[in-house]
Amino acid sequence: MKLSRPRLPLMIFLLMILGSLLVGFLVIYEIVATHSRGEYLRLENRFIKIDLPRNWFVYSWKTENSTGDIYNVFLTPPNLLSAIIFKIHDEKATQNFMKEYNLTDALSVATFEIERVYNWTQSKNENASIIFEETGEIELFKKQAGYSKIIVKDGIETDGKFYDMSFLMMSYIQNQKLVEIAFWGKKEDCEKMSDLFETILNSTEIRM
């Protein structure tokens, strides 16, 4: 029995699909090969150098408008309810942000963001309440940074249930540019991630 040859356009179609898929996966392979640093992938641009865990949802974007530019990086693991956010403001954005909310220094920024998040959790759940609070100054990237940490009882909702929420806010100002780092999520998940958060933070270099 003689097998008939597939029609030429069908063969071209299949070859084009295979070729495009090959290009796509080769580019992905190239990204991994180029940015691989042990267990992490290094994201490096003019704003930040950061070692990212390989299998996380990571988004970075820049908002540009008349009030200044802000570069953002958002990281979250696929299986835990917690996230890390970096916000790097330029001089204009810093000036506008501080002026708009009447803020004076890095610590007041951290306190302001904590208040903002707490108000937001209360809008979601009226019974949410702060059960732990801590405010102070720490050394971050060899700079003096303000930090504030809260734990909100029933502050986060998932699958129709409320859980305690942990929220840590750190901020510092250098060369009139504000850097904000937030680490928040379900309390248990944040505890599981705390070592990793430290590792990520230690690998990070903010470029201004």
């Binding site: 008939s4 040859r5 029609r7 030429l8 356009p9 069908l10 071209i12 179609f13 084009m16 699909i17 295979l18 070729g19 495009s20 898929l21 290009v23 796509g24 996966f25 580019v27 992905i28 190239e30 990204i31 991994v32 940015h35 992938l41 994201l43 990212l52 865990p53 390989r54 299998n55 996380w56 949802f57 990571v58 988004y59 970075s60 990086v73 696929p78």
Partner: protein, 158 residues
């Protein structure tokens, strides 16, 4: 046999474009989920944050969304239309592309100037090339058919 494009040819071509358009809507969300699942399974989901990932995603989308949908639309058009495929198949791909782009602009808030290569060039090329290949796959004579035609002509000479 007339070579003029009939109204029914255009209707079939438009229906092929509709198949291409609906397929694109369906596959675009499925392929995004598929890519994400593959990257999670490979343990490299973080690659999505790098600039070059746009190229990888564009190439994969070209293959799995636009080429396939254009091909399906072209198969329909090629099955129902015999003549003027050179004119009608690009129409099929063009309708599929236009429909999808309009949906993205009006409902997805797509900014065409930002994603020109990813959202205009590759989808248009994929839909039109796919439609051509689909249409000609139907009308292309297979090896078996060629042999049968030869046998018939021999019988007639006898």
């Amino acid at each position: 046999m007339s070579d003029a494009v009939t109204r029914m040819d255009i209707v079939h071509s438009a229906v092929g474009g509709g198949i291409c358009f609906l397929g694109t809507i369906l596959l675009s969300s499925l392929v995004n989920i598929l890519i994400q699942r593959i990257l999670i399974a490979l343990g490299i989901l973080t690659v999505t944050v790098f600039e070059n990932f746009v190229i990888a995603k564009a190439a994969i989308s070209f293959a799995l969304i636009y080429l396939i949908c254009g091909f399906l639309g072209g198969l329909y058009t090629g099955y129902f239309v015999e003549n003027n495929l050179k004119i009608l198949l690009p129409l099929t791909g063009g309708i599929g592309f236009t429909g999808f782009t309009v949906v993205l602009v009006f409902y997805g808030g797509l900014d065409l100037t930002v994603n020109f290569l990813e959202m205009i060039i590759l989808p248009l090329l994929g839909d039109i090339i796919g439609a051509y290949l689909g249409g000609y796959t139907i009308s292309w004579p297979s090896e078996g058919e060629e042999e049968v035609e030869e046998e018939i002509s021999l019988n007639l000479e006898q």
